[in-house]
Symmetry: C2
Subunit: 199 residues, 2 copies
């Protein structure tokens, strides 16, 4: 009945099992496969081969493919606090830089985006991230509480659009953009979506 799970970086949740190494290897392989292949083409057999174990172990530890996916993509964006009066006017730049750091160091985000586009469970997971993580940030800096969802959605559209064109579709001009360029162009956009009076 042990449904949820945790990565090896989170100790203290129950006794360490002897199979933790295998569990971790499965999760790591699953993240990579989901990120590069998407949900359907990331087969359990391929993931198991990457993790150097038998496919049946995946089923034993994660019940089925959906359970594996749920365990593999647990995302905490760790969005920074921008409620301070000084930071509020820099929210755009801070958030764009944070997003770039996240996307370039965490393949789980690419996996989730790839899966979210073709898989209902993945799409709902992304909706949850917008609701639970992006919306609170917008609430910190947005003047009118009633406009918070709309402004958070606008911010998501620009940030996810950048990730889509740059990290998933790999459109050459988007890949060629320097980090500083991206920040310089996108920061004012995000800042405006969050704090400017509604047009």
């Amino acid at each position: 009945m042990n449904g949820s799970d945790s990565t090896s970086t989170v100790p203290g949740s129950g006794a360490p099992r002897r199979s933790d190494a295998t569990r971790g290897a499965i999760l790591a392989a699953a993240r990579e496969r989901f990120a590069t292949d998407g949900y359907e083409r990331a087969t359990i057999r391929a993931i198991a081969k990457d993790a150097n174990i038998d496919p049946s172990m995946v089923m034993r530890y994660y019940r089925n493919k959906e359970g594996l996916f749920a365990a593999a993509v647990a995302i905490d964006l760790r969005l920074p606090d921008v409620s301070g009066a000084d930071r509020r006017q820099d929210a755009g730049r801070i958030l764009v830089e944070h997003f770039l750091d996240m996307w370039e160091n965490n393949e789980v985000l690419t996996a989730l985006l790839r899966v979210g586009v073709t898989n209902q469970a993945g799409a709902e997971r992304m909706q949850g991230i917008l609701r639970d993580q992006l919306l609170p940030v917008a609430r910190q800096v947005c003047p009118d509480p009633e406009q918070v969802p709309a402004r958070a959605a606008l911010m998501a559209s620009q940030l996810l659009g950048l990730a889509l064109t740059r990290y998933v579709l790999r459109m050459p001009p988007a890949v060629g953009l320097a980090r500083a360029e991206i920040v310089a162009w996108l920061a004012p956009t995000i800042q405006r979506y969050l704090t400017a009076p509604s047009p």
Copy 2:
């Protein structure tokens, strides 16, 4: 040796065949399936059932699944001309409105985005659209020719990001945005990406 193909809306290319109705039904069903299911889950069997024909007919008319996909998603964004001096300062609004019209009346765009995320051929098709259709528009209004690719990529990131959150992931706050709101918020962004001096 008849490799290429044409929809029934394009006459004049060879004699009309008796099977044009079937070919059209296959393409229509394929577009809908690719749009809602993505490449992998849009099975030829399902498409054939939607078109009320046998799966083998799909192979006869389009060689294989890749050929069917290539024939089903032929996209012309019909981007408006914004080179006029008066229109140049309205390019942002014009382009955003045009994009919304396109996305809401053409399921092929959703199909292409869904497929492009998990299929290499789909991704290359999207790169081609950016290169052949969006880039020329940027060239019309962008001051420095050297910055055209970067600015087109920025425009693509915002427009595709909106389509992603609103039409594919269907994030509730993005779906809830009114058309006028979207135009009012995004038009200045696109305008700035295209015409503002580089920051």
